[in-house]
């Protein structure tokens, strides 16, 4: 066969005998990958007269875009919010382990913490722009000691683990009454709400993807505006806001709700609260309000999950809100600045009945969501991939199997169990 090297020398892999999630449907189509991106085979055929170098037989399995977890506090004994000396090693360990759950991209979440923790983890060195940063890091530290290498930063995924899309800062600008498991002494309010407040607490915002805040706090509008303007997704949560306060926040740029139903006022028929955003008629045209749901069967009653899904199916985003105990055996552990107890699939604040995050994995959430809501396989898969990507504004490269997007995908069987995980077209985990 003559060579097919008219556009690129890189090898082309064709996944055959599979059903892929495309145009919101599972279709019997082959998936083509080159140089870490999904390739258009028709263009390859007619423009380049190209063909596949390798064929992978998927044996009738399902290929879905890799799952994206926008709220995960840690796992396998690692707590992202803890002041550990090797936070990057911790993130890397979790990133590697969650490949088993089909997660190819995630937002490590920091719960309400003291200001120095934020400064330590988020501080950015001016040297970040330099290539080979990791190799030169120890040298730079010696030469430029006042500048610290970023501990938590945006990073592509690969065989080492799922990609970091950015950090999710859950707090400290949240409501005291609805703080849930967050430590009360580190909660904050806005002085003026502008950049100054944010910088004073957080330090730097370069690697931040999302911020959860309570919009009823005074001067929150300026903060929401500032964060949205920087492309950071503002999420409403741990809040006592009523519906009109929530709608105003959406008008200023908020686009997500942190774990719907949990840590907010319950739905009331005369004041639906934040939950009312799902069917609000004051959402600016062309915008969608997305909402996170912990579909572990514990944080939300299946009937409530169904109500939310049926009211606003396009906005549902599955999140794990996994705590460090995820993946660990039952017993007592530390989350942020507090202690928790694991009993089966439940994780409680020690000595209370307050839930402190879930220990379900993303693939469990997908399966549970499908079962509890009776939705289609496609809807369940999109809630874990397309919707989070749309919420973060990255659906042009993640969360879908469209041509030209990153080849991050999972191979699943009909029970929606993850069998293989791929990042940039490379197999990074196999059952």
């Amino acid at each position: 066969m003559p060579s097919n090297k008219s556009v690129s020398d890189a090898p082309i892999t064709q996944f055959v005998n599979c059903r892929i999630l495309k145009d919101h449907k599972l279709q019997w189509e082959d998936l083509w990958v080159r140089e870490g991106k999904i390739l258009n085979p028709e263009k390859l055929f007619f423009d380049e007269e190209g063909f596949a170098d390798h064929k992978v037989d998927c044996e009738d399995k399902i290929i879905a875009p890799g799952f994206i977890d926008v709220q995960i506090n840690g796992g396998y004994g690692i707590d992202f919010s803890q002041a550990s000396s090797d936070i990057r090693g911790g993130v890397a360990l979790v990133a590697k382990k969650i490949l088993e759950h089909g997660v190819t991209s995630f937002c490590p979440t920091l719960v309400t913490s003291p200001s120095d923790i934020y400064h330590k983890f988020l501080i950015v060195s001016v040297l970040q722009k330099v290539v080979l940063l990791d190799l030169l890091a120890p040298v730079m530290l010696l030469c430029f000691s006042p500048q610290v290498i970023p501990e938590l930063r945006v990073q592509d995924g690969g065989p080492e683990g799922a990609g970091v899309l950015g950090i999710h800062l859950e707090g400290p600008f949240i409501s005291e009454e609805k703080r849930g498991a967050h430590p009360p002494k580190f909660l904050r309010t806005f002085k003026a709400g502008g950049l100054a407040d944010l910088m004073e607490i957080y330090g730097h915002l370069d690697n931040v993807a999302m911020v959860t805040l309570a919009p009823e706090l005074a001067n929150s509008a300026a903060a929401i505006h500032e964060l949205s303007g920087r492309g950071i997704a503002v999420s409403l949560g741990h809040s006592m806001a009523d519906l009109s306060q929530a709608e105003e926040a959406v008008q200023h740029g908020a686009k997500f709700i942190t774990h719907l139903f949990n840590a907010m006022l319950p739905f009331h028929h005369r004041d639906p609260g934040i939950v009312g955003l799902l069917t609000s008629d004051r959402v600016p045209p062309g915008r969608t309000v997305y909402y996170g749901m912990i579909a572990d069967g514990i944080h939300t009653h299946p009937a409530a999950l169904r109500i939310a899904h049926r009211a606003h199916p396009a906005g549902l985003v599955l999140v794990t809100d996994a705590v460090m105990a995820m993946g660990l055996p039952p017993g007592r552990h530390t989350l942020g600045q507090q202690q928790i107890d694991i009993q089966g699939l439940h994780a409680y604040l020690t000595g209370t009945t307050t839930l402190s995050g879930s220990i379900a994995t993303m693939d469990m959430c997908v399966r549970h969501f499908r079962e509890a809501s009776g939705c289609t396989v496609e809807a369940a898969l999109e809630a874990a991939s397309l919707h989070p990507a749309q919420m973060l504004g990255i659906s042009h490269r993640k969360g879908t199997l469209e041509y030209g997007t990153d080849a991050d995908f999972v191979v699943l069987d009909d029970t929606l169990t993850v069998r293989e995980t791929y990042i940039a077209g490379q197999k990074v985990w196999r059952k």
């Binding site: 055929f45 380049e48 007269e49």
Partner: protein, 288 residues
């Protein structure tokens, strides 16, 4: 000609696909001697393509040493538009089989010099050694490829403006919006298809019945360009029962092999009259 009549669309598609398969297999194509196949688009051949894909997946048919030449393509439609004939061929055929991309030939409706593109296509056919088997369909107005009524019966590959009938017929693929249907195409000529060593025309459905009647029971006429194949040494028309609705019972029975032998055993004068009528009809057709 040979008129092969099957009971329904699926059986007609299967017969046609088996014929193509057998021709390719018996030809035993190699790297030095490709089997050249002319191919159509539209809804009629879809069943045939599905069957060919099935034979390929069963291991009974390989397209490795087959070269294909499509009949036509719209002018000005982006190549990756879902209704372009490139997209049609990719989705309905090429992506499911082992044909090599450089062995497929489809006219480029976005070429900067359309005339040159048509001339080049003719040259590619010649260079490939001519077409072994050209498979085609028939339009409701009796056209072969886009050789609309009035096309020269010795025409070659060229640009053609579509007839109103064809635009209306195609509107269903463009959301029933006539303004979105392309008005010009590049098409092989009647003469181009006549040059093929063998021609097989697929005709199914009652809406094609009148065109079939005009094509085979009336004379050779440039208003019904498929009729040109009455003058081709090896043509097969494959159709379903519905497509024969406008034909004479006698024609259908003859080709189905069910003509009664009673005609020969009736008395001498009846036989003479019948023969005389047949001769008269035959004479009329020639001078039309």
């Amino acid at each position: 000609m040979r008129l092969v009549i099957l009971d329904d669309y699926d059986l007609a598609s299967e017969w046609a696909a088996k014929y193509i398969r057998n021709r390719i297999v018996q030809f035993k194509p190699t790297a030095d001697r490709y089997f050249t196949l002319g191919l159509p688009t539209g809804s009629t051949p879809l069943g045939c393509y599905r069957k060919l894909i099935e034979y390929h997946k069963n291991g009974d048919l390989s397209f490795k040493y087959v070269k294909t030449f499509n009949m036509d393509e719209y002018v000005g439609l982006p190549r990756d538009h879902p209704e372009s004939y490139h997209s049609y061929m990719w989705n309905n055929f090429f992506k499911h089989i082992d044909i090599e991309p450089q062995n497929t030939h489809i006219l480029d409706g976005n070429a900067s010099d359309l005339q040159a593109e048509c001339a080049a296509f003719e040259q590619q056919i010649t260079a490939a050694g001519g077409i072994e088997l050209f498979v085609g369909g028939i339009g409701p107005d009796g056209h072969i490829a886009f050789n609309e009524p009035g096309s020269s019966l010795v025409s070659r590959t060229r640009v053609k403006t579509l007839a109103k009938d064809t635009i209306v017929a195609n509107a269903r693929f463009f959301g029933n919006d006539l303004s979105k249907v392309p008005t010009m195409t590049l098409t092989v000529g009647v003469g181009t298809v006549m040059d093929a060593r063998e021609v097989m025309i697929l005709i199914t459905g009652a809406h094609k019945a009148f065109a079939l009647y005009k094509a085979i029971e009336e004379g050779v006429n440039h208003m019904w360009t498929v009729s040109a194949f009455q003058q081709h040494p090896r043509t097969i028309f494959v159709c379903d029962e519905d497509a024969t609705l406008e034909l004479r019972v006698k024609t259908v029975k003859y080709f189905k092999g069910t003509i009664s032998t009673k005609i020969l055993s009736s008395n001498f004068f009846s036989t003479l009259i019948i023969i005389k009528n047949m001769l008269l009809e035959h004479q009329i057709s020639i001078f039309e």
